[in-house]
Symmetry: C2
DNA sequence: TAAATAGTTCAAAAATATTTGAACTATTTT
DNA sequence: AAAATAGTTCAAATATTTTTGAACTATTTA
């Protein structure tokens, strides 16, 4: 019932077609430690609610993977989806 | 002044994030002959005006290349942009 | 146990994207 | 030369996406 990794093409492209989400992806790409939604939101100046919305879309597209630990939700990029849909991920994005 | 091939990442992803445009791309991919805007529009049941709008976005994203011959505008996929941004084009799209 | 923190959900508001129809240009056909 | 065809442009209407704030759950800290 849970759709952790929807890799439907249009869902992926829609998820990539927004500057806030590309910023989030960029942030996740350039970080070395495990990152929470809150950290990203603060760093990029995105409100909690808006962040929640964007992380949800990214997750539904299979672009990020999430892990809930107590209060916090940790997010990381799902390279599988990039490998499947996006060329030169580490070069372009 | 004319920007025939804008290959800006978000422009490309936005252009790919619409089902009408993905249908157009699909149509162009599966065709062997040179194709006009009108042919695509008729085949996919897109109005002239709407087609004009979508072809423009695809062109601005560098996804298609166009050639005007007398009354008609011929369009074809620009594989360079796919090579640069999209993985497994001929597999996924 | 109260207050603070992290995140979600909902509905309304705001912003963006798409479709429509009418009017237009340019070319070709009759 | 008139009518038909291919496509564009514009502004208005419609649809979709994103943002906002308030209320909420769950967990942790004081």
């Amino acid at each position: 019932m849970m759709n952790t990794q929807n890799t439907d093409q249009i869902t992926v492209f829609k998820a990539l077609a927004d500057s806030v989400r590309l910023d989030i992806i960029e942030y996740l790409k350039h970080t070395d430690h495990e990152v929470s939604c809150g950290e990203v939101g603060k760093a990029l100046n995105i409100s909690k609610t808006s962040g929640s919305y964007h992380f949800k879309l990214l997750q539904e597209a299979g672009i990020i993977t999430t892990r809930k630990e107590s209060r916090e939700k940790y997010v990381s990029l799902n390279s599988k989806t990039f490998d499947k849909y996006v060329t030169n991920f580490y070069k372009n994005i």
